[in-house]
């Protein structure tokens, strides 16, 4: 009896297998999408540029090449589907790693549409890098040179992966962007990239951070400020922090390697006034001494630390003030902190949070601990 059953099962599957394995797609039937750039055309339609990994010419020696494909449409989905008519196999989003959005799209307030499109479909992954281009068109990024890899999207991801060793870049996967975007009392930020011309070759460079307010792009901050932003956002995983030890003498600098950093934002509410305290605890190593900074012994190290702390404090406070004044966008998530830690206060003031934020009193209290100083006991000086 079981044999009959098995036969029937097989017989049952055969028509199903032949009548169509509905989702059956060979790898070669797919265009492996590496990245996507979103622009507007002149007529206000979406212009999508897809970077597709081109495997057709790939033999045993040559590397993966990439080709750029364009498509237009009133909505993103339409545009994405319009590509299909262009004698290209179906685009496969599962391996896409970058989404680049042009300034125009970002500042026109349709960013929610983009996110919705990316999240609703099952194929695009939430870990894609979310990037705002500072170039005029987002697709220019894909037209730049990529020295390390043939595929620009991979190149971009390598730049972002380096975020660990340099604090001047902020890495925002799509999921992080959406989290910040949808959170109460927080404005979203995104990586900003630019293209620079060096010796006739266009190269992709980090250009700091794009700042959103609600669903609109309101501005960019440069890489130096991004480092400060990373301090506030507790994003420091490494990198260098340069301290000017002498305000008069610009040459006198030391480099501190950031080993570990922990930031806590402490909101306090007293007498109807909200204030924020940014507590930072950073361990660093002394890596380079510029000019002729004298230091020797415990005490000198302590003084160096204090100088660094003072510099960081003023930098952070200046930066926060600048953001409050210029953009009014709560990219630090102060509102979120208030919501989480002082829910009663948040309940009262969440309606006028924008005004509260721009008048918020913020103090920074960094503590920098110098853990070691490399291999040298003291600076190398010319002998007399």
């Amino acid at each position: 009896m079981k044999k009959v059953l098995v036969c029937l099962l097989i017989l049952g599957f055969i028509p199903m297998i032949f009548s169509g394995c509905w989702n059956y797609k060979e790898v070669t039937q797919l265009s492996l999408l590496a990245g996507i750039a979103i622009d507007y055309t002149d007529s206000g339609e979406f212009l999508l540029t897809f970077e597709v990994a081109d495997l057709h010419e790939m033999g045993e020696k040559s590397q993966v090449k990439s080709v750029l494909v364009e498509a237009k449409g009133q909505t993103l989905f339409e545009a994405a589907r319009n590509v299909i008519s262009k004698s290209l196999p179906k685009l496969y989003w599962g391996h896409a790693t970058t989404v680049i959005i042009s300034q125009d799209v970002a500042s026109s307030g349709r960013i929610a549409e983009v996110i919705d499109f990316l999240c609703r479909d099952a194929e695009p992954r939430l870990t894609m890098a979310f990037i705002i281009s500072q170039t005029k068109m987002a697709r220019e990024i894909f037209e730049a040179q990529a020295p390390a890899s043939e595929i620009r999207s991979t190149e971009i991801n390598e730049i972002l992966d380096d975020a660990g060793s340099q604090s001047k870049i902020v890495s925002t996967p799509l999921i992080d962007f959406i989290k910040a975007f949808s959170a109460k009392g927080q404005s979203a930020i995104a990586t900003a990239l630019n293209v620079e011309e060096k010796g006739g070759e266009k190269a992709i460079v980090n250009s700091g951070t794009a700042i959103f307010k609600k669903e609109k792009l309101v501005g960019f901050i440069n890489p130096e400020d991004t480092a400060i932003l990373n301090f506030v956002l507790d994003n420091i995983k490494g990198g260098v922090y340069v301290v000017k030890t002498d305000p008069e003498n610009a040459e006198k600098k030391i480099s501190l390697e950031l080993l570990k950093s922990k930031t806590r934002i402490k909101p306090s509410y007293a007498e109807g006034k909200l204030s924020m305290e940014i507590l930072i605890e950073t361990s660093v190593a002394l890596n380079e001494i510029g000019g002729s900074v004298e230091y020797e012994g415990e005490e000198a190290i302590r003084i160096l630390g204090q100088k660094a702390e003072a510099q960081l404090k003023s930098q952070i406070e200046d930066f926060v003030r600048k953001v409050q004044r210029e953009y009014g966008a709560d990219i630090f998530g102060f509102g979120q902190t208030v919501y989480k830690n002082l829910p009663q206060v948040w309940r009262e003031m969440h309606d006028e949070w924008d005004t509260v934020f721009s008048e918020l009193e913020v103090t920074a209290n960094p503590i920098i601990v110098i853990k070691h100083a490399g291999l040298l006991r003291k600076p190398i000086k010319p002998g007399d």
Binding site: K2, N23, K25, E26, T28, L30, L32, V64, Y92, T97
Partner: protein, 507 residues
């Protein structure tokens, strides 16, 4: 005509009607008729020197007995011994005082004599006597006891079963010198009359299982039994399942260990393997040197075998599923290279995989069948044709070859489970091509539902794997130290579970 009819009836009933009368010539004539046309049948008349009226006849089949034994122990005494006149005491006297053989037996049943001759015994008939003697001087050539080829071990005894059931029986008996060890014999096969011993340890083996074994053995109705495989197919629980519910072993030490666990052994004459019952799924993964070598190493090997089993059935299916449904699960660089490798290959992945699996199985079978001398050529041919030429010609892609190689390699680690593996592999490839990983997983779920539903002589097949008792793990996924295994497996031996004293290891 009469004769033909006789043989015809023999075929169906296989009961010859020999009635021994008092006339020697008549008796011999009856045998002659039965063996008519068979020139290997030897009839030798003798008479005693002293007493010529005492006539005897020896009947046997050429080559099946030891000539010296017959000459020296039977013929010589019969001719030379001084027999009393009138041969008083008849055949009893001959049996007790003349024949110098340890295995001689008086029978009055002609049928028994006939069977004895067929089995290579020697029949002795006497004039004026309606009884005969069966003298056992079986002397055909046996293969010497050798190390079994299919169950190689790192350590452990080097002897394996041979074709002779007597030798096999003694090999087990030597290991278990206890009167509790019982051999119950059965004759199977209408023509072959193969001797079968059902062997068990009384007081340890489960009586329900035992009676079930006898019930099934007695139901067998065939003309001949050539190998253990014949019998195990007849007594299997789930006849349509590809999985075996009876085990086989070529090693007497394994058989003895199984008996100690309460299992039942069936020895079959003419087969160098013994059937072990009941057979549970985990036994596919147990080898006997697991029990002789260090238990960490043994446990590791056992896990290796299980992982290999899972790999060998799922690898091609998962490959197909990943490549045709779940492209996101493959790391990007790998996907790029696979995609490039597949460029230009005309067949769909499913077809390609099935095709290559098929080729692999052909190569495996060829490797087994061809003479050793040609074997080298085959492997070169396979490696060259498939490994290089087929890939270069874009008939198959390189990743498939890797997957099939992994599949084949991991499949060889547990050779006993080969038959179900081939079927399962194919099913999972089809399921993978049909519904992707979900299909593969559906297949695996159904497979284990099937396995859990199987029983071997009333014992659930997966009893140890699906046990929620943590202590039952000790002889499945791992091989626990011997001193841990204090109890016999519950379901196999009903009562008498304690196996050893309270010994904790160490000193």
């Amino acid at each position: 005509m009469d004769n033909q009819q006789n043989t015809h009836t023999d075929l169906n009933t296989y009961d010859v009607s020999i009635t021994l009368g008092s006339s020697l010539d008549d008796n011999v004539q009856q045998f002659r008729t039965l063996f008519q046309g068979d020139d290997t049948f030897i009839v030798r008349f003798l008479s005693n020197q002293q007493c010529p009226e005492a006539r005897f006849c020896i009947l046997y089949i050429e080559g099946m007995l030891k000539d010296e034994v017959i000459n020296e122990s039977v013929i010589q005494p019969l001719i030379q011994t001084v027999l009393p006149r009138k041969t008083e005491g008849g055949i009893d006297h001959i049996l007790q005082e003349v024949i110098l053989s340890n295995q001689a037996e008086k029978v009055s049943d002609g049928n028994r004599l006939f069977q004895g001759i067929l089995r290579g015994e020697c029949a002795l008939l006497m004039d004026n006597c309606s009884e005969g003697l069966v003298i056992n001087a079986i002397g055909w050539q046996n293969r010497g006891i050798q190390e079994p080829v299919n169950e190689q071990v790192l350590r452990g005894p080097r002897e394996g079963f041979v074709e002779s059931i007597i030798v096999n029986q003694t090999m087990i008996r030597r290991r278990l010198a206890t009167p509790k060890l019982k051999f119950v014999s059965r004759l199977l096969g209408k023509h072959s009359k193969t001797k079968v011993y059902v062997c068990y340890l009384e007081g340890v083996a489960n009586h329900q299982i035992l009676s079930e074994v006898f019930r099934r053995l007695d139901k067998i109705d065939v003309d001949g039994v050539m190998d253990a495989g014949n019998i195990s197919e007849y007594i299997k629980d789930a006849p349509y399942s590809p999985f075996e519910t009876t085990g086989i072993t070529e090693r007497p030490d394994v058989a003895a260990a199984d008996l100690l666990e309460g299992r039942i052994i069936i020895l079959i004459d003419g087969t160098p393997v013994a059937i072990t019952l009941p057979f549970l799924f985990e036994e596919y993964f147990q080898t006997d040197d697991d029990y002789y070598i260090n238990y960490y190493f043994a446990s590791f090997n056992r896990l290796l075998r299980m992982v290999s089993f899972i790999l060998t059935i799922t690898a091609p299916g998962v490959y197909v599923a990943l490549l045709t449904y779940h492209h996101e699960l493959i790391p990007s660089p790998l996907l790029f290279s696979i995609s490039a490798a597949r460029e230009g290959v005309p067949f769909p992945t499913v077809v390609e995989t099935i095709f290559l699996l098929f080729i692999f199985e052909i190569m495996r079978e060829v490797g087994m069948r061809v003479p050793m001398t040609v074997g080298q050529t085959i492997s070169i041919l396979g490696a060259l044709v498939l490994g290089t030429a087929a890939v270069d010609a874009r008939i198959v892609s390189a990743p498939v070859i890797i997957v099939v190689a992994i599949t084949g390699l991991t499949g060889l680690i547990t050779p006993r489970i080969k038959a179900p593996v081939i079927i399962l592999r194919l099913m999972l490839v089809l399921m993978g091509g049909f519904m992707g990983l979900f299909g593969v997983f559906f297949g695996i779920i159904a497979l284990f539902q099937h396995l859990c539903g199987l029983r071997s002589f009333g014992v659930p097949y997966m009893i140890e794997f699906s046990s929620l008792n943590p202590s039952d793990i000790k002889d499945t996924f791992i091989r626990a130290p011997h001193w841990f295994m204090k109890k016999r497996p519950t379901f196999i031996s009903g009562r008498n579970r304690t196996r050893q004293g309270n010994w904790k290891g160490g000193t």
